[in-house]
């Protein structure tokens, strides 16, 4: 598990405020979960817009022209950085 939540401009998608554009920089999950995420479009380097992120709710994101619902447990494994 990656322990640091904030590292300069890096964070987890669960910590990303609503209406923020970020880019995926790491996925800390097992092979099957990583494959599932990749197949749905979440691979390293993918730009993501967080549409809605409220405590205890799943996270709503848009990527590659579609909206996805991301459970918090899964979202906590996705590391992102500012979309520079």
């Amino acid at each position: 598990m990656i322990e640091t939540l904030y590292l300069d401009n890096q964070t987890f998608i669960t910590q990303t405020p609503t209406n923020t554009f970020v880019r995926i920089i790491g996925i800390d999950a097992g092979g099957l979960e990583k494959t599932h995420l990749a197949q749905m479009g979440l691979v390293i380097g993918t730009p993501v817009r967080v549409l809605r992120n409220r405590q205890n709710e799943p996270i709503l994101i848009t990527l590659r022209n579609s909206k996805l619902i991301l459970g918090r447990k899964l979202a906590s494994k996705i590391q992102v950085s500012d979309n520079q």
Binding site: T35, G41, N56, E57, P58, L60, S66, K67, G71, L74
Partner: protein, 674 residues
Amino acid sequence: MKSCCKNPEVSDSKGKTVALVGNPNVGKTLIFNHLTGTSQRVANFPGVTVTSVIGEMHSDVEKFQIIDLPGSYGLASTKKEEPVTSKYILENHIDLIINIVDVTRIERNLLLTIQLMELGIPMIIVLTRYDKLPDFDTNILKRVLNLPVLPINATKGRSLNTLTLELERIERSPDRLSTSPKKLEFGELRNVLDKLYSVQRDQEEEHNSKHPEKVVMGHIFGVPGFENTPEWMKNLLNKEGIQKVDDLRLDLISQMYEFIESNLLITPEAYQESELESLADKILLDGKTGIPIFFIVMTLVFWVTFFISAPITNLLDSLLINFGEWVRNIVSNELMASFLADGVIGGIGFVMVFLPQIAILFLFLAVLDHSGYMSRVIFVMDRYLNRLNISGRSLAPMLLGFGCNVPAVLSTSNIPDENERITVALVNPFLPCSARFPVFVVFAAAVFGKYAAFAVASMYFIGILIAIFMMLVLRKTVLPGESTSLLLELNELSMPPLKTVLYQSFRQIRKFIEGAASWMGMGILFIWLLSITGPSGYIGPSALGSSSGIKSTWIYFLGNLLEPLFAPFHWDARLITALLFGFVAKEIVVGSLGIIFGTRGSDALITQIGLNFTPVIAYSYMLFVLIYVPCLGTYFALRREVGSKWANLSIVFGILIAWIVAFITTIIGGMIFG
């Protein structure tokens, strides 16, 4: 038309096999129905409950066997539906793939396209929802992928005709069915893939097989049947600096997306949602508004379902009763008349009781699903269900359970996690279906007077508590697992296409009739046999008509035999006999009690029960009916969805839990009321 077949192989006729493959919700079913019309049959894939449909398209010279495969995001197996599609494509001969791509979500849809292109199967691309993005330039796709691209609007028949014409053109130039799609460039991975295909090809020459790409892709994407990576493949990957097949798979998906981004020039926000949709989402995704709206919607669904289905059910019921009576009158042999009237027509009539409400419930569920509403419900309910170690996806089957457990159990096939799916199906019979309501009402009215409504409400409360308790126990013990990590597409909110909704409901209704209903009919016939015969031999159909007659039947004999088991609750053989009937259908409990007590009408039965039983006996009996066994219809739905082992266990545990709860109620009731 052929009925369902165990092996989904297409028929042995000479027609070309065409597979429809695409992401979920891209309009595949509409295209399939346009191409095949009514010549369809359900294909049951061995080992799983996901069904697909095979149909035929006839033209002047050729027959196409068209198979509609379940929606899939890619070849990798990450949930229940996907292995079916990948497995079918990899293990069967397919002449042509029609890859259906939603143009508004084209970037993610093309991942599957590119994976399919690797398999070497001739392919055409059909772009749906083209009307939403009419400026989309299809030439880029045609040029880069070197495949025919047909933009269509799946809801318009005229637009769909272009696909029919294309298939007819393909048929006239057979060389098009021998042209494999070109292999795309994924940097260094192209070389790795080509080397793998080459070694596999050499190996296959020994076995006279012709599909190196299918086998290699099967291993890379971990498709069931291809999970064990051969040693030569591991060694070759190591030489190329790739540690594991998992790494190659993830690299390949990344490279495929990169290819799409750099070569197919998709702009990031090509499709914009409307302001109305954005506002609707603000309301539906917010717990404070979304949850109350959801409960209102579900209440309306149940109310309308029963409001519409009740008169249809009654009409069908009376038609069949009259038909049965007519048959009874014209058939001179008393036994044959009873067999036809009580057994065959009665059996069909029993199925008819379920059918209208099941059909309407499935129709509503399809509307909610295809309008994009269900994914919003999953979003708002997910956090509450996570506490029970289940995900938002399990909500719909549980709510349906309050209407009828049969469609509820059948609808669990949409839950991707196997353990979660079995859990939700197994606890479903604890949720009181509408058929148990008359039993509760009759007993509560008989002994609880003005508190009757509370007694009935308590059944719902206790049923839900037991379901939650069992869910927690099962998820912590034999069916462990955390709630499935939620990763779901939030589809656009829209009016669902009527044809899709009707087709989907029709398929599910047919699945119900072909599966559970045929067994239910046999169950009814068995009970009928037990009710016209007894330990003394043949009694005849008159046994069902009088309280003394029924006492000489096998059913009553069994009730008597089982009486000691229920002795702690002070129930007599009459109540136990009705429980045996209740296994066929909970609706029959009240009716059979009426026959046993020799009463006409529910008021007389309520009076009789009030005179014969104490509140403690009545309440323990209500609880037992709530819990004891799923009805025959639910039992066969369970068998179909989770297998006979779990279905049988649900009966054993149902009876055990019901007995314990009734026992505790008797003890506590005895202490309170003396």
